[in-house]
Symmetry: C2
Subunit: 143 residues, 2 copies
């Protein structure tokens, strides 16, 4: 299955070391630029205050099934972490949509490298995407 | 960029008409089966009560930039909807992890077709994935 970039994400983070671990650790503003041929698909997105972006971890390393996450000093199974070195290096972030200017979305809470390839945008809908009574395993007390 | 299935999702939904629109409309239990070579990556996932699964909309139609979503009779821009006919047909669901048996995860709230190809599993972490003060545009009153 081929995945194609549908846009590019512009952020203040030129190197991995500067990228926040997750959106909740970022107050930075970035621009999600959709390629021209997809612009029509953005109609009505302004009504949503938050969006989910899917993107490629284009600078990730070789997939590894055990990783040491940024928030811990112990190794964990890859799928119990958000580490970028995944079999399918796809990242997901929920960010705040500040405004749309044509095919450019200004978003707050961005946590990806400058130049990251965008692969999808979805509206964030709490009744779809939010759960309560949540346990967070090894991240308890860390996230 | 090539995406590879890392497993398969077993659900009670054999046809599109039977699939719930989102996990919040489903109480059904499904099994997320990871292929053997990735099993090691599941370690520590049991600590999490909820997981995010990414999968392919393998029965979706040709991408369309304007779609009529299941929850509305009006057309909207594709990226303001969760419609499957996307340039990159990747779906995302937050589901409850009931138990792990080896490389099979029993999950509740499944909303995908039986046989859906799995492409990623991530732990669901409210401080990463949940936002407050949310507006949901055309879905207001519908979701």
């Amino acid at each position: 299955m081929m995945i194609i970039p549908i846009g590019v994400i512009h952020t203040p983070f030129a190197t991995m070391e500067k990228v926040p671990i997750q959106p909740c650790y970022s107050n930075e503003v970035g621009e999600v630029e959709l390629f021209r041929e997809y612009e029509e698909g953005l109609e009505d997105l302004e009504g949503f205050s938050h969006i989910v972006i899917l993107y490629l971890f284009h600078k990730s390393g070789r997939p590894s099934l055990r990783v040491k996450p940024f928030l811990d000093s112990d190794e964990h199974g890859l799928f119990a972490t958000r580490h970028p070195n995944r079999p399918n290096p796809i990242g997901m972030s929920v960010v705040k949509l500040i405004e749309r200017k044509g095919r450019v979305l200004r978003v707050k809470g961005i946590d990806v490298l400058d130049g990251t390839p965008l692969i999808d945008i979805k509206p964030y809908v709490p009744s779809f995407d939010h759960s309560t009574d949540v346990r967070i395993g090894w991240l308890q007390g860390k996230a």
